[in-house]
Symmetry: C2
Subunit: 171 residues, 2 copies
DNA sequence: CGATTCTTTGAAAACAGTCAATCTGTGTGG
DNA sequence: CCACACAGATTGACTGTTTTCAAAGAATCG
């Protein structure tokens, strides 16, 4: 059973699943709630790399693969529940159940597609179009995530996002 | 042998490996040269999603997985040679040689890491810092790729890139 | 060479960021 | 339950950056 190789962890809003400098050794499946993974730059600005809601994954792949200290923070932005699977146990399961590897592979493929779409938006669109694109592709998140975090995800300032929203609201 | 399930294809500079609207059925390993994958938006502007040089892969994952017409063009920007492996043959090899799946998985992991770094740069950095970051992380490409294509990769205009280069040159 | 394409430059306009102030809502402790 | 504090969101004025458009200057290739 999956429970035998994993642990459920509850986090309240504002609690951290991972903090910068820590080493990340898990695969984390979000059962309930919402997390965001972000980075703090040298000027103290936060940049959100990922939001993860129910039935999706979170974690720091780089820290997991290389065993290096993470450069990210992962914070619960709602009261949440995650299933944590330690990497050793994860590898064990992969070996025991070959079809599991395929599942992982297809999750990775899906992640790649999502990332590609985001890069395309980042390099192609204006601030306004980035926002509209986000609302269109992730309406659930758009209403669930605080605006300042959304701005840091889109790579624009909170003020700019506020103005864009005002403009696009009327119509 | 790998040759039995694949074909070598030579392309001259400016030739296309894939054109928008076509369906992509391969995995393509670059043996020699350099490709770029780009998208043309409704205003006719090109946006470069990927450069692929020797020992790396190219293709359109979305078209490959879903069997849908591609939204991308893949163009040889140097005289190049690619190894094309048809998806059916690729799957066959995966089934025959289980360890091959792991190889694929680790390539995907690497791709994801690269994409994540790019997203982080896209949402965090100014035009100038994006350029400097690119030069630092991909010095080979920086000297090999035409500047207008580099600009379209960084999400800035060719004029801005030209000005940035002038500024950063002296020092 | 000539033609084409790429790159650079300049000036103006559009866009997004910053800073500071105000407004809003939420939650906490008295 | 209210008042207060606090964080998030909005607004305005200003600054700075980036784009756009047009033109001139390299570089490349037949």
């Amino acid at each position: 059973m999956i429970e035998s190789v994993s642990t459920l962890k509850k986090l309240r809003k504002h609690q951290f699943l991972l903090q910068e400098g820590d080493i990340w050794n898990f695969n984390a499946f979000v059962c309930e709630g919402c997390f965001r993974r972000y980075h703090i730059d040298e000027n103290g600005n936060e940049h959100t790399l990922q939001f993860s809601i129910e039935n999706w994954w979170t974690g720091d792949r780089e820290s997991l693969n290389l065993g290096t200290p993470s450069k990210f923070n992962i914070e619960a932005i709602e009261n949440s529940v995650v299933l944590l699977i330690h990497k050793d146990q994860f590898e064990m399961v992969c070996e025991k159940i070959p079809s599991f590897s395929n599942t992982i592979s297809s999750i990775l493929q899906k992640s790649m597609t999502v990332s590609q779409k985001r890069i395309q938006a980042d390099i192609s669109l204006t601030a306004e179009d980035k926002y509209l694109h986000f609302v269109q592709t992730s309406p659930q998140l758009a209403s669930r995530v605080p605006r300042n975090m959304l701005a840091s995800y889109l790579g624009i300032s909170p003020e700019t996002l506020s103005r864009i929203r005002k403009l696009t609201a009327r119509k």
